[in-house]
Amino acid sequence: MNENLKFIQGNEVCVEAALYTGLDFFAGYPITPSTEIMEHMAKRLPKIGGKFLQMEDEIASLCAIIGASLTGHKVMTATSGPGFSLMQEALGYAIVAEIPCVIVNVQRGGSSTGIPTHVGQGDVMQARWGTHGDHAIIVMTASNHQDVFAITVDAFNLAETYRTPVILLFDEVVGHMRERIFIPKKGEIPLVERLRASVKRGVDFHPYLPREDGRLPISDFGGVNRHNVTGLAHDMWGFPSDNPQVVHGLIRHLVDKIQNNTHKIAKYKEYYLQDARTILISYGSAARSALHVVENRRSRGEKLGLLELQTLWPFPYYLVQEKCADAKYVVVVEMNMGQILQAVKVSVDRPERVFLANRIDGVFITPTDIRNILRLIEGKGV
């Protein structure tokens, strides 16, 4: 049997992918339905000389990995809704201080403590705007294990490229489901390594002065260049500043470096879109049911298509507009009250033709749920 073929949970796939990128530091706090990620890390990391920490809470977990990232390591933490809420302040710090890290949120059902062992996709907007202040952020997701692997590797690559935290917004179904996966061979997926400053000892070092291409080389803590890291608005030395020009420049830089590269960051998959009259837009585990409906209806000759988003933020407005230009109906399939629906409505030329097929009760949305909405839209009654 091919040793790279495995039949494992999505959470474990995420661990395999993180290790594939060279991750060697993880800190976390247990929470359903993400706990398997930290359990696998606890087992795997020491075997490769990596470090695993169980911290006193999720705030400390994110802070610890941010610290470890500054010494030059690829780092990750994993949690679910309640823990993700606790992480918001430190997340903003990593954005402003431009420290690469990956945060996994395996979404559970409901709000507050919710329904821990069930599924939901209610954290889409929190991932976008949970931390205070203007900022841009990269949030990615996937619907099957092969994609969980690829997207996780991607998350680490983007974190290094843009020196920013990246959020992997998985959900309980993808996290707990077992599915076949081929682990790619070393070298099969290109990896982005940290861009390090090459300033010699003694030369004035500007840790927060981006290169012409917008990238910001980093100098590891413990290396020859010493610098200050802060969450306060700061100048090119990383020193606090309230100079309006400096502050304006910093916020623009933080937003532009991501928003202006949306076309490079945005990952998606499309199924039967060329001639589709009705387009489903979905992501994460919900996209599995959406694809089922599309394939089923196609076999009956109906012109349905699916746009599966893998990058949720920055939202690819141009892409959704272009793909939906000729569609009669657009149906957003998600397990929340319409968090991506809003972004889709903003993207398309005719927002009144955008509908929502959702579930918010912790139960996985089924093809039947989607079919019922389609029948309503088509005036056929349920």
Partner: protein, 279 residues
């Protein structure tokens, strides 16, 4: 290396008020580091938020000014990932023991090698003088305008109970003792806590009618005494200064090295489902 070489002169003047004790802590700390002869590249200073936390910007080490209360958690990640680095974590009393209290006790329990300095001015200086968990019963502040009914932690007792392997206390008046205790704390292999009673003439001093910065320093002199002194027996209200705990205990990063060794030994065993595992 001269003390001056440890400082980022570019970023002076500092933000502290005239007479603030935090600058005296900076002075004592740099003297301690100079005496030990540490290289600037091997030191990482991690601070939180507060007047005290601004200390990190002024020293020419690898420095990280983080978020309120979480400095020890950031420091834990840095130390764990690069155990050869020396971690120094200065914190305000509110920073360390209100919002950061949980991280504080867990860091002490873990015994990871780093030096936590509590710059205790018994007040939230940066936000303009609200009471802290170290203000104590009967003190005045902007949020206890009719007197404070919150009782204070004793930093030393708390640290000892939480498992810190080095615990010391001194004041900004006792500059030599400060440098000495800080030096021993930095050399100590394990989690060390040094409480430095520091004056905030602008808030705590004014609100509690303690006079000028000089008066407040005099107050530290008169109200403290070396550990176990005769004066303490006569007057139990005196606050003891010195090193309370200094013991050898397994250090976290060294312990983790053993975990790595254990995990790396190839295991061939059958798990519960009977599958063979080779890793």
């Amino acid at each position: 290396m001269a003390i001056r070489d440890y400082i980022r002169e570019r970023f002076f003047p500092h933000i502290w008020c005239p007479g603030c004790g935090h600058g005296m802590v900076l002075n004592g700390l740099l003297r301690a580091i100079e005496k030990i002869g540490l290289d600037k590249n091997e030191i990482v200073m991690v601070s939180g938020i507060g007047c005290s936390a601004r200390i990190a910007g002024y020293v020419d080490f690898h420095t990280m000014h983080t978020i309120h209360g979480r400095a020890l958690a950031f420091a834990t990640g840095i130390k764990m990932s690069r155990p050869e680095l020396k971690l120094i974590v200065p914190m305000g009393d509110g920073d360390a023991l209100a919002i950061g209290g949980n991280h504080f006790i867990h860091a002490a329990r873990r015994n990871m090698d780093m030096t936590a300095i509590v710059m205790n001015n018994r007040v939230y200086g940066m936000t303009g003088g609200q009471y802290s968990p170290l203000s104590g019963y009967g003190t005045m502040s902007t949020t206890s305008p009719y007197s404070n009914i919150d009782h204070a932690f004793d930093v030393v007792e708390l640290s000892v109970a939480a498992g810190a392997s080095f615990v010391g206390r001194t004041t900004t008046y006792h500059a030599k003792q400060m440098a000495d205790i800080l030096g021993q704390a930095i050399i100590h292999k394990g989690f060390s806590v040094v409480e430095i009673m520091s004056q905030c003439p602008t808030c705590f001093g004014r609100q509690n009618r303690l006079g000028s910065a000089i008066d407040m320093l005099e107050h530290f002199k008169e109200n403290t005494t070396p550990i176990g002194s005769k004066a303490k027996q006569k007057n139990p209200d005196l606050i003891e200064r010195g090193i309370f705990v200094q013991k050898k205990m397994p250090e976290y990063c060294s312990e983790y090295e053993k975990i790595i060794e254990r995990a790396m030994v190839t295991v061939h065993h059958r798990d519960r489902r009977g599958h063979r595992e080779y890793n």
